[in-house]
Assembly symmetry: none
Homo-oligomer: 527 residues x 2
């Protein structure tokens, strides 16, 4: 039995503070404001914005954020307890925290004796006084205070008494919440569960803050919630230092779709995939295809066994309806796929595969080409061209009869040029292209050759180019697979594939297919 | 309290079967054999190799794998129960399973009534007969049989009786193990724990097989183990369909370093990072920086953290010692760490970097080149050439003054040729090379130009060629990094790097450096 929804449970996002500790993430003030807007729209009640005073950018951020009209989110400013041996009222960082102008503040307090003596270099009693003073002073300034008890679990498992007295001190000084932190991320669910249960009696509600160093940040957070924690701190997509923080995205999925809670509206839940992707894009991080609920592969099926069952009933191999989180089911075409995959994929793409033996012929063609190194999993456009060709329905608007690409260099510079011979409507066309590499030069030549007959090709843009060596260990004879993504101005996007032992030929194959597909579909015209 | 180590607990790897269902993974027979060797070295007791009969490549794989000398791993062939309404002895797939020649086999059995009636389209009783017959027949063929009970948890939570009778039937028919599968990956740890506990009495040991659709594959597997499961099926790096399978890498970390078990030797555990990375490379998957225990960021600390404090007590900041899993602590790049890195690397490679300002100059050069996309982590040979050049100690045995590579094709064939102009000892040499792609042709031309003066170049072989696009999303203007591995007959192996927006130029840079390095080191002579 999973826990039914308690009164007053809260999600707390710290993407903008703890999440941006991740290697490779650097957010501008404008980036941060966009993330706040996305989280507010998603329905996250607490959004931590940064550490004012410690960081000039975060001070600017809070000044700008005060101008935002938030629908429901509470912005939280982050800080720490006062310095040892001074007064809370004289602490410039606590001053800056109040100056952020938020109703809510969160301060980190040391809860581990070793850290108090080694890192703060002060006494255990002074640390307790720092917690009490800081909370009291902030409450007197009219703030609602959340206390993050750092290293709480490590501390509790070593010296239960001191950890508990830090939490109790915070509660008695007027904190609204005490959040227990697994700062080093080394805990497992049963340990989290035990410690949370034994801390429930301090008089204020508890929160949980997990890192993923054992691979259990999510399960640890669920264990804490099962034990009575009423707030979960985490980040979007699990961003954070080292292995990252709790990923709020699957937490939201699990609490809604497994526990049956209703923290967000159905519409907000349906935006989860979009919000996750948008924040990945803002953070400059690759989207994670395997991310639970929202990943591009989360509902992608490859095995022929699964595909034939899915044709009968989609629920047979899916744990939830993908649309509930704004995601979708995808069929993958591979050498492991059978007729059912091809039929479902054709239906998904709107390709006509009726006709005696057409599906079997497509399966055979896909299998032999996949054996040669092609991959149609990502290259829907090449699959569609192949299917139309096998079905006898492909009319090619142009044919390339010859091509050559030359790359040359000396000690200082290099350059590429290409020559393309095309047949378009019975006419022979020869063009020379130039570019920054052979593919660029070939694309230039092909565009020149086509533009008189098909002016829309001017609107095709190659936006992604991926090369993978398939049989490493074969040296310069290795087979290479090239994937090319193309877009037009009307936001069509299509992927084509080319394969061969010659990287230029394989790139050219994918490129020529990209133009062929765009023309067959009539892409490139203004919408 | 975490569970102490039970007698007879086993890791079971299915990277080669369930893992290769992941979008983007396609393993050749040679790839699969390399993975088996790595897993055997790591100390994984069961390695599932594929589905013979269902897949021609897997049949070939088992034929080749029989020739391997494994240290301790048991290879397992995978299959399914016999078809409905037929006989086990007449089932071609069961025949192929036996034909794989392994001592152990694993078959999947339907355990969910809905799947039996909708997908198999047979009766619940016939499904039980299929389980019993198939297991009995395989046992009579001398096999040790593992039964994967598909959708066991969904089934048990709906109709406890049928799920249990499938497991019991398998046990009574002679299966050595029954593995309970969360096939859709929709479970949470408390559910897994309940169901495993209630299935313990069937008479044979239980295994667990989890997928990560709720983000809890690892915690679910730990919950099953805590409840008494004695085998965990998973994949390296969590590869698998949709959100992936249980990642064995953090499972190994958690069981060793948190539970205190000793499944692997300390040396094997110390190879965990290497094995994880090597399998990612073979699978053509990006390494995951945030992967627990083995990720490049797993022990990376932000710059503000004091190195002196880490020296006092690393345990304050890290949940385990990174070296125990073959990983390392990393401080974020700073000028100080840059110098220290270069000095340590130079010492490791035996490069002389004495001389006023040489190390600083190397640091500056490395920084500007890494900013441009170079990576010297893997390319020790290019780093050594760069260091020698900066130190003024590089004497080049040849200089390339001009080069060109032409690739051409028509509807049927493609070919490449290259022209190289070299200066060797004051003499100008021009040669034309041919090959299977521009790099192959350039290599041919360069070899021809050098062989008269340096006959040892005949013994250089390019054995690996890797291309990575650094800035995806830039289309044909993307920056490309090329790594080339070269060997000679005396088993020297060296790696060089080239970078640029032109894939041919970047390849050429790495290739020319490979020859230059070999000649500078005097490689290629018979030992």
């Amino acid at each position: 039995m999973l826990l039914s929804e308690p009164e007053g449970f809260y999600l707390y996002d710290t993407t903008l503070r703890d999440g941006s500790q991740q290697e490779g993430i650097q957010l501008s003030v404008a980036d941060k404001l966009r993330v706040v807007d996305l989280l507010d729209g998603l329905g996250v009640p607490f959004v931590e914005g940064g550490w004012p005073g410690a960081n000039a950018k975060d001070t600017q951020f809070f000044a700008a954020a005060r101008e935002m009209r938030l629908r429901q989110a509470q912005l939280v400013a982050f800080g720490a307890t006062r310095k040892a041996g001074s007064k809370a009222s004289k602490d410039p960082l606590l001053e800056a925290l109040v100056g952020a102008g938020t109703e809510w503040v969160c301060i980190v307090a040391k809860a581990h004796p070793g850290h108090v003596t080694s890192a703060l270099k002060t006494s255990l009693d002074e640390n307790l006084a720092m917690v009490a003073d800081s909370v009291e002073w902030l409450v007197n300034q009219g703030k609602q205070v959340i206390v993050d008890a750092e290293h709480y679990f490590d501390s509790f498992l070593g010296d239960e008494g001191y950890a508990r007295s830090v939490a109790k001190t915070a509660a008695e000084a007027g904190a609204s919440w005490v959040v227990l932190c697994d700062t080093n991320g080394g805990m497992l669910p049963t340990q989290i569960s035990d410690v949370v249960s034994q801390t429930l009696t301090i008089g204020v509600p508890l929160g949980i803050h997990c890192h993923n160093d054992t691979g259990c940040a999510l399960a640890n957070s669920l264990a804490a919630i099962d034990a009575g924690a009423l707030m979960a701190q985490g980040t979007m997509n699990g961003y954070g230092e080292r292995t990252g923080n709790l990923d709020l995205v699957p937490l939201i999925g699990d609490l809604h779709l497994k526990y049956g809670w209703s923290l967000l509206t159905a519409e907000q839940l349906g935006s989860l995939t979009h919000v996750s992707n948008a924040i990945a894009d803002i953070a400059g991080q690759p989207r994670q295809p395997r991310q639970p609920y929202v990943g591009a592969s989360a509902f992608a099926h490859k095995a022929g066994l699964h595909a034939s069952a899915l044709k009968v009933d989609e629920n047979l191999y899916q744990h939830i309806a993908p649309a509930s989180v704004g995601n979708q089911m995808r069929m993958l075409i591979s050498d492991a796929s059978g007729k059912a995959n091809v039929e479902m994929k054709a239906r998904e793409l709107g390709i006509d595969v009726s006709g005696e033996g057409v599906v079997s012929d497509i399966v055979e063609t896909v299998k032999s080409r996949e054996a040669a190194g092609y991959s149609y999993e990502a290259a829907d456009a090449s699959f569609e061209l192949l299917s139309a060709d096998v079905a006898g329905r492909l009319r090619k608007p142009f044919e390339v009869t010859r091509w050559r690409a030359v790359t040359m260099g000396d000690a200082d510079v290099d350059s590429s040029e290409a020559q393309i011979t095309l047949m378009v409507g019975g006419e022979r066309i020869v063009r020379v292209g130039e570019g920054n590499g052979p593919l660029d030069a070939l694309a230039d030549g092909l565009r020149q050759g086509l533009v008189a007959s098909f002016p829309t090709v001017e609107n095709y843009e190659l936006v992604d180019y991926r090369v993978r060596i398939l049989d490493t260990g074969r040296g310069t004879d290795a087979t290479v697979r090239v994937l090319i993504d193309t877009i037009d101005e009307a936001s069509h996007r299509w992927t084509t594939v080319g394969v061969g032992t010659n990287v230029v030929s394989a790139s050219w194959e994918a490129l020529a297919d990209a133009y062929l597909y765009g023309l067959v579909k009539g892409y490139g015209a203004a919408n």
